[in-house]
Amino acid sequence: MRLPVLLISSICLSLLFQGCKEEVVTTDIFVLEEPSVDDLTSVELDGMGTLYVNSDRINIEDGIAQIKGTLYSKVEEEFVAVTSGDFTLSDLDANGIYQDFSGYGQAAIPEIGVFEDVVTELATGASFGFQSGVDIRANDELAPVQDDLKYFGITLNEQIGEKLEFTIKNTVFTPEAFYMDPNDPMVYFRGDLGTPKFSVEDAGIGLSARGNLQFTPFEYSEELEAVMNVPLSPLSGNIFISGLVPIPKFSIAVYGEALVGFVLNDNGFNDFFEQGFEDAQYRMGINGLVILDEGFISFLPETEIGRATVIVELEEAGNQYIQVAGEMQMTADFLPEMLGKLDGGVLSSNFSMPVQTVESYFYVGSDANNSQFFIRTTLAMTIPGIGQQDLVEAMFGVDSQQIYLSGELGVPGLALVYIEGDVFYNGQFRLAGGASLQVDVEVATLKVSFDVVVTNDGFAIEAKATGTIAEQSVSVSASVALNWETGDMEICMDLPVVGNTCASFREGQQRTLNGKPYKLEKL
C-alpha cells in the first residue's frame, strides 16, 4: 500500500518539476543598443532638436512618451548613441514638441569624432534633467552654452563609490555632474584636469566631438585693432577650459575661458591630452584676466590685464606667437620703469601718463625680439622748444628699437593735429601729421589745411587756405620752420597780391624780409 503511494508521489513531483518553468522577457535598458535604422521613432525636444529611439523602446500615451532604451542623436547622417535608460518626455505642445525631459540613464561619452578615442570606465547611472543655457550660466557664468538652447543636466549618484571615469590618453576625468548637448555631441563639467604635464584645478571643461565649441574674442577699439599683427579672430575648437589656464610656453597664466582648437593636426585632440599645454601643437583663444610677469616681455614690468583676449598660436612651426589685448590700469611708475629698461632713462622725462585704465595690446613671437606692446591712452610728451604737449587718443607702441606714437597733438595757436611717427631711444624723433578745417562765415568760405612735422631738430608747419572771400577766389599758403637748437624761425607766405614772402627770425642777427634787412616799427 505504501509503495504505490511513494511511486505516485515521485512521478507527480517529477512532472511538476518539468512543467513549472516559464519564460519572461527582460531587457537591460542601460546597455547602449545598436539603432534599428529602419524602425526608429523621432521625438522633438524644445531647445534641443530631434532625438531618436528604437520604436520598440518607446511608449506614447496621453502626450507623455516613455523611453526604456537607447537615445540617439543624428550627427552627419549617423545615429549616435547618447545614453540608455528610462526617460520620460512630457509637456507636449501643439507643435508636437516636448517641453520637458527627465529620467535615469547611463552617464557616458558618446562615441563619435574625437570622442571615439575616449576610454570610458566605470560608466554608471545618473539622473537626467533638462536645463536651458540661461539656467546653466546662472550657476556657472563661464559655461560654454548658448542661452537659447537646452542641455541634458546629468548628475551621478553620490552613493556610488566609483564614479564615472573616462580617459583621454594620460588624462583622467572623474566628473560628478555634467551637461551634454547630444547633437554636437558636447559635454561640459567641472573638475580638476591633471596630467604629469599640466594641471588645472577646479576647471570648467567642455569637450566637443566635432570641434563645434566657439570662441569669440572681446571687441576693442579700431585704433587698437589697427596695430595688431594678426586680427583677433573667432575660433572654433574641441576643448573648452575655464579656470586658471597655464601657457607655459610664454610663461603666463590666464584666469578665464579658453578654447583649444586644432586646424592643422588631425590628431591634435589626443596629442593635447598626451603632451599638455607645453608640448602640444594647438591654437587657443582665451577671454579673461591675465597677469603678465616680468618674463613675458623683457622690458615690461609685471602688470595685470583685465577684460583680456589672448590668442595663442602654437600649431604652425615657425609661426608661433601669442597676442594679448585688454585693459590695463596704468600706474604712475609704469612708464618710467618700462622706459628705464629700454633706454636707460633717456626718454623717461619726455613722457608722462595720468593714472588711468587703457586699452593695451601685446605681441610676442617666436623671436623674443619681435615683442611689441601698445597702449591706447592719453599722454603728455615734452617737445623741445614747445614744452609739454598733450597727445589725445594716442597710440603708444613700444618694441626693442623704438617708440611708435600717434594721436592728436595740440599745436600752439592751431587746432588739434593728428600726428604719428617714431621716437628712438637715443632721443631722435620724427612726428608728422596734418589737419584740415573748414571756415564758413557770411563773407568767406575757406578750407584751411595744415601739415605739421616735429623732429628733434625743429618744428615745421605748412598751411594752405583756399576758398572765397567776398566772392573773390583766394589761395594762400604759409610755412613756419623753427630750429630748436638755433632758435631760428622762418615764416613764408604766398600772398595773392604780393607773392611769396618770407620772414626770418635769427637769434642776435638782423631780421630779413624776402632777404632784405628790415626793422620793426611801432605802430
Binding site: R2, V5, S10, E22, Y104, A123
Partner: protein, 199 residues
C-alpha cells in the same frame, strides 16, 4: 490510574525537532535563470511518535538567481504539514519516508545588476511579496536524537516585476530543490519494549 499512565505515555510520544540545512541543488522556475547562491534554511517541527503527522515551520533565506542583468532574491516563511509514509529501523537507526505540503509567505527583491551601477534608478530594486505553496518528498535518518534528512522540494509562487518593460509581467518565482538538513529531536527516548528476563 490507567488514564494517568496513558497521559504520561502520550506526553512521552510527542517530539520537537529543530535544525537547519541548505540546498545543494536549486533551480528557479524562471526559464533561463541560473542559481547564484545556495539557499539555506532553519526549521522547527512538532509531532508524535505514534501518529504519522507532524507540522513544521521554516525560514528560508539566501537564495539568489540570475536572469540576464537581473537578480532574484527570494526568502520565505513556510508552514508544512508532513505525513510519515513509511518508517523502519530501530532507536539507533531509524528511517522515515515523508511527504509534505505547505503554505508560504514569500518576499522577493528583484535587482537590476547590469554592467552599469544604477543605484538611483527607481526600479533598480523591485520588491514583491505574496503567498505560495510547496510540496516535498524525502526521507529522514534518525540516529538517536540526531536527524539527517534529504528532500526533493518544489516551491510555487508568482510575483510581478517590470524587468525593463513598460508594463509589469508575472514571474514564476518558485524553485525546485534538493535539500539537506540536520536536526536534533527532543523527547526521543528508547521506547523499545524488551521482554523481562528472569534468572
Amino acid at each position: 490510574m490507567l488514564l494517568l499512565i496513558n497521559s504520561s505515555q502520550a506526553n512521552a510520544q510527542r517530539f520537537f525537532e529543530f535544525g537547519g540545512g541548505f540546498s545543494p541543488w536549486s533551480e528557479s522556475h524562471v526559464a533561463g535563470a541560473t542559481t547564484e547562491k545556495t539557499p539555506f534554511h532553519a526549521y522547527v517541527e512538532y509531532g508524535n511518535f505514534l501518529q504519522h503527522y507532524s507540522i513544521s515551520a521554516r525560514y528560508d533565506f539566501s537564495s539568489q538567481y540570475q536572469l540576464e542583468n537581473y537578480e532574484l532574491n527570494p526568502w520565505f516563511f513556510g508552514l508544512f504539514l508532513n505525513r510519515k509514509l513509511l518508517s523502519f529501523g530501530s532507536y539507533r537507526y531509524e528511517v522515515e519516508v515523508i511527504g509534505g505540503a505547505g503554505l508560504l509567505l514569500e518576499q522577493h527583491r528583484f535587482l537590476d545588476r547590469g554592467n552599469n551601477q544604477v543605484p538611483g534608478y527607481e526600479l533598480e530594486e523591485e520588491r514583491a511579496s505574496g503567498p505560495g505553496f510547496a510540496g516535498r518528498f524525502g526521507a529522514k535518518l534518525l540516529v538517536g536524537k540526531f536527524v539527517g534528512s534529504l528532500f526533493l522540494e518544489m516551491f510555487r509562487s508568482q510575483q510581478d516585476f517590470t524587468a525593463g518593460q513598460f508594463e509589469q509581467q508575472t514571474f514564476q518565482t518558485g524553485s525546485n530543490r534538493l535539500t539537506l538538513s540536520i536536526g536534533y529531536r527532543l523527547n526521543r527516548e528508547n521506547n523499545e519494549v524488551t521482554c523481562p528476563t528472569y534468572f
